[in-house]
C-alpha cells in the first residue's frame, strides 16, 4: 500500500513534487502487482493539483486492466468528505457549490467538436460559481488551453477540475492531458530548446507555434499575461521533465526533474479574484 503524504502548507510546487513521487510509486506498484492501493489516512490537506494527477493515474491503470484498485480515505473528516464530493478517484458528473468535480474524458477522434463540447459543459458548471469580477478571463484561459490540447497534443485522455475558495478568493484550475508534451511537440517540429523547462518557457513567453501560419501561438503567452498580470495569480506547468512556475511580479522559476517525469502536460492556475471586473482585452494580443 502506498502511503500518501503531502506537505502541510498550501505551496503548489511542494504539493506537485510530492505528487510526482506518488505517481512514480504507483507506476512501480502497478508493474509489480497490477494493482494499486493508496493510503490517504494521514492526509490533512489536499489541493486540486494532486487530486487530478492521482485520479488520472488511477483511471489510466483501470484502462490497462488493473486487477484491483483500492484506497483508504483520510481520517480527517473534511478531507474525506471533500474527496468524496469531488468524485475521487474516477470523477463524477455532479458538481458542488464551489467546485467542478473531477472530469476525465477519452479523446474521440471521430468527433472534431468533442473538446469544444466538454469545455462548454465545464464552463456551464462553473458559471454560477465564479464571481463576476473574473469577467471572461476564465473562459479565455480555458478556451486557449483546451484548443492547445486539441490542436497539438495528440492526447488520448484529458482531465479537468476547478475549485473556487471563497474565503481566500482564489480560483484553482487544473488541466492535464497525456499527449505529446510541450518538449515532445517541439521535438516533433524540430524547434530547438535547451531542456524541457526551457521548452515550456519558450511556449509561454515567445508563443512559438508549430503551424506555418501567421497569427498563431498567442494562447499560452496571453494566458500567462492574463493570469499573472491581470489576476495577480500563479501559473504552474509540468511537461515531461520540465517544471515552470510563475508568480505575479516574480521571475519565472524553472526546474528539470530526472527521476519523476510526467507522461503528459499539466497546467495549474491559481487566480485571485480582482477587486473590479477585469477587462481581458487589455491583455489579449
Amino acid at each position: 500500500m502506498i502511503k500518501i503524504v503531502f506537505p502541510r502548507g498550501d505551496n503548489i510546487l511542494e504539493h506537485l513534487h510530492a505528487t510526482l513521487i506518488i505517481l512514480k510509486k504507483m507506476d512501480s506498484e502497478f508493474k509489480k502487482t497490477e494493482s494499486i492501493s493508496l493510503d490517504f489516512s494521514e492526509v490533512g490537506w489536499i489541493i486540486p493539483c494532486s487530486i487530478i494527477l492521482i485520479s488520472n493515474k488511477v483511471r489510466y491503470f483501470l484502462e490497462r486492466g488493473a486487477k484491483s484498485i483500492s484506497y483508504k480515505p483520510s481520517l480527517n473528516q473534511s478531507v474525506k468528505k471533500h474527496m468524496e464530493a469531488i468524485g475521487f478517484p474516477l470523477g463524477k458528473k455532479e458538481d458542488g457549490n464551489s467546485f467542478v468535480s473531477i472530469k476525465h474524458f477519452l479523446h474521440d477522434k471521430k468527433d472534431p467538436s468533442q473538446v469544444n463540447k466538454k469545455v462548454n459543459d465545464l464552463l456551464d458548471s462553473m458559471e454560477e460559481k465564479i464571481p463576476g469580477e473574473f469577467g471572461s478571463s476564465i473562459k479565455y484561459i480555458m478556451g486557449e488551453l483546451s484548443d492547445n490540447i486539441d490542436d497539438h497534443s495528440e492526447f488520448k485522455s484529458a482531465s479537468l477540475m476547478a475549485q473556487f475558495f471563497p474565503q481566500k478568493k482564489n480560483i484553482d484550475i487544473a488541466i492535464f492531458d497525456d499527449g505529446l508534451t510541450i518538449p515532445g511537440v517541439f521535438e516533433k517540429h524540430n524547434i530547438s530548446f535547451k531542456n524541457d523547462s526551457d521548452s515550456i518557457q519558450k511556449a509561454v513567453y515567445e508563443g512559438i507555434t508549430t503551424k506555418k501560419e501567421d497569427s498563431r501561438g498567442y494562447g499560452l503567452r496571453t494566458c500567462r499575461k492574463l493570469s499573472t498580470e491581470g489576476l495577480n495569480g500563479e501559473l504552474h506547468i509540468i511537461s515531461r521533465k520540465g517544471i515552470f512556475l510563475l508568480k505575479s511580479e516574480e521571475k519565472p522559476q524553472l526546474y528539470d526533474i530526472e527521476d519523476t517525469p510526467l507522461d503528459g502536460t499539466f497546467l495549474y492556475f491559481r487566480l485571485k479574484q480582482p477587486n473590479k471586473k477585469i477587462d481581458i482585452y487589455k491583455y489579449v494580443e
Partner: protein, 105 residues
C-alpha cells in the same frame, strides 16, 4: 438561396477550439445555399484562436457569409484579432460584402 444557421446549436454558448470551427466550415461549405446568415445570438464568448480561425475560414469560403446578433464581447474579440493581423501586416485580407460586416446584437 439563403439559409440561417444558429451557431449556438452547433457550438454551445462558447466557441473554444479551432477544430470545431474548421469542422463547421466544412459543413457549411457543403450546403447548397450560397448565402448563409450565421446567427451569433446566445454565443457568449469566442476564443482568440477561434476568432482567428473563423476569419481565415471566412476568407477561404466561396459562400457569402452574413453575421447577425454578435454580442459586444464576441465583437471585441474579432476586432482584437483583426487589429493584430493588421499590426503584423498579415497576408490575410478580409472580403467586405456590404452585408457581411459584424453587426452588434
Amino acid at each position: 438561396m439563403r439559409k440561417e444557421i444558429i451557431l449556438a446549436d452547433n457550438f454551445g454558448k462558447n466557441i473554444f477550439t479551432r477544430s470545431s470551427i474548421i469542422y463547421f466550415f466544412k459543413m457549411i461549405n457543403s450546403l447548397n445555399e450560397e448565402v448563409l446568415t450565421l446567427n451569433f445570438s446566445k454565443i457568449d464568448f469566442i476564443s482568440r484562436s477561434c476568432a482567428d480561425e473563423y476569419l481565415k475560414q471566412k476568407e477561404k469560403t466561396n459562400k457569402q457569409i452574413i453575421e447577425r446578433n454578435i454580442s459586444s464581447e464576441v465583437s471585441a474579440m474579432f476586432r482584437n484579432v483583426k487589429n493584430q493581423h493588421e499590426h503584423e501586416g498579415s497576408k490575410i485580407s478580409f472580403k467586405t460584402y456590404p452585408s457581411s460586416r459584424l453587426i452588434p446584437a
